[in-house]
Amino acid sequence: MLTQLKENIVYPEPKKQNIIIEVNELNVYYKNNHAVKNVSLPIRERSITALIGPSGCGKSTFLRTINRMNDLIPGAKCQGEIMYDGINLLDKKIDVVALRKEIGMVFQKPNPFPKSIYENIAMPLKFAGIRGKKRLNDIVEESLYQAALLDEVKDRLSQSALSLSGGQQQRLCIARALALKPKVLLLDEPTSALDPVSSAKIEDLLLSLKKQVSLAVVTHNMQQAARIADQTAFFYEGEVVEYNDTSIMFTKPVYKKTEDYINGRFG
């Protein structure tokens, strides 16, 4: 029925971007729980990939495996490969600290450090070896500008980051990640703790960011995925049921499961 409705609409041919991260047959286990099953998925350069699916479907786990945040969970085990720049990120010999600078992450709850706005951005920079007041100032300002926060905070950089509103805090967290000039930014439900106005600002921000970085966004919000994502992957019980360009996924899903989820019949 859906196909009949859509047949005479012509879609613009999606621009196929280069693949920056190629995940091949990834399996993640937490002790006895097989959280991610045989997932193969590309993350495309300078585009937004949305990961959708019901709670507990493995999408967050998948995201956290990419920059090895799962290493911190006792009993977590990964198999398969995540190819990035010709290397397998799951390789034990990888310098995870360097990796996390290139593949940044933003979490669900805004989590700025209890420090000044300036220090929130400058501290990781200093640790990354960037010295000189002028240089630090420039990067702080630039990343705040990129995160569309500069105008709101430029007069109070020395104030505590915790005095900002929730939406501002989340944009600060994005700015903080951007300051390290990552190639890829992973966002784990970045707007689910925010009000609609703040969420809309973050969405606009993500759309503007994809000119510079590749983004992967886990979201519970289907409309959000439809609004911002170029590609969408639908996770269900640890597997990727369907992966496609968002415009196709949300209009002509191949699988019934996807269609049911997108139409809110379960979740």
């Binding site: 911190l72 006792p74 996390r100 600078k101 989590n111 450090f113 640790f127 903080r176 990640a177």
Partner: protein, 294 residues
């Protein structure tokens, strides 16, 4: 109706308990201050204790108390914070860690007189440090260390997990995350705990009876050479602290104004500890406010 009654009853009972607690504290502190406050004077605080005559002061005891406290904190703060970091951030949840935690708990609940006996056997007799500030401070370290480890561990654990994650996600190493993110975030809690435990150390007497001794040499407050036997800074001299002095004066002193001296010294001790508690609260709140900008 019935549950309403039960509700009101329990609120009443709980309130009674709270009032009783506050009443006991206020009564105790009030009694000591009432008895001793009139005896506190600049002369009392700045003159030597006397052996036979009335009118002795507590200058040396007061100095000893603060000095032993300082030396104890010098040992316990770095050790305790390191231990707390280990317990909160590095110790894996296994049997060994559980065993260490029980050790700490037992150590912190040991009667202080036992810690004093241990201090005497090890520091005074075995290491031949005699009754000295060093022996006393080390005994107090044994007594205080588990508390500080606990305080530091709890303060670190109460920092939300996402602070750890965000530190690591920004390319910081674990140690750098602890140093630059977690310790500053836990700082108000650690500071409050440190000051409160300082109050406990300051008032401790039993652990010092056999380690720091019951006498003080004639101190010369113009001689600041830490190696001189009569220097206030010498850590190898015996030192009677304020709370030990209260006990000694009450127990076997022949000075005619023993009661007044004891009450006066007790009032000074209580005031100092009150000061510790109040400053712990104020400082903790101040740092917290500075950090959160509210």
């Amino acid at each position: 109706m019935n549950s309403n009654k039960a509700n009101r009853m329990s609120i009443f009972l709980i309130t009674c308990c709270a009032v009783l607690m506050a009443g006991i504290l206020l009564g105790l502190v009030g009694y000591i201050l009432y008895q001793g406050f009139s005896h506190i004077s600049l002369r009392f605080l700045t003159s030597d204790a006397s052996a036979f005559l009335a009118g002795g002061g507590i200058k040396n005891q007061l100095w000893n108390s603060f000095y032993i406290l300082f030396i104890t904190m010098l040992f316990t703060v770095p050790l305790g914070i390191a231990g707390g970091i280990y317990m909160a951030e590095y110790a894996k949840p296994n049997k060994l860690t559980g065993f260490m935690r029980s050790c700490l708990e037992v150590l912190s609940s040991l009667p202080s007189i036992i810690v004093g006996m241990f201090g005497m056997l090890v520091f005074v007799n075995f290491f031949h440090w005699e009754y000295s500030i060093l022996s006393g401070a080390l005994a107090l370290t044994v007594f205080n260390l588990p508390v500080i480890v606990r305080v530091c561990e709890d303060a670190l654990r109460s920092v939300p997990q996402d602070q750890r994650l965000s530190g690591l996600a920004l390319g910081l190493t674990k140690w750098h995350t602890i140093k630059k993110v977690l310790l500053p975030a836990a700082f108000p809690g650690i500071l409050t705990g440190l000051i409160l435990s300082a109050g406990r150390v300051f008032g401790e007497s039993a652990a010092l009876l056999f380690t720091a001794g019951l006498s003080t040499p004639n101190l010369d407050f113009t001689n600041w050479n830490p190696l001189a036997p009569n220097s206030p800074l010498n850590v190898f001299r015996s030192a009677e602290t304020l709370s030990v002095h209260i006990w000694a004066v009450n127990a076997d002193s022949i000075i005619p104004d023993a009661k007044q001296v004891a009450y006066g010294a007790a009032a000074v001790l209580v005031l100092c500890i009150l000061l510790f508690n109040v400053s712990a609260r104020c400082l903790g709140r101040l740092v917290e406010r500075k950090m959160t900008g509210k």
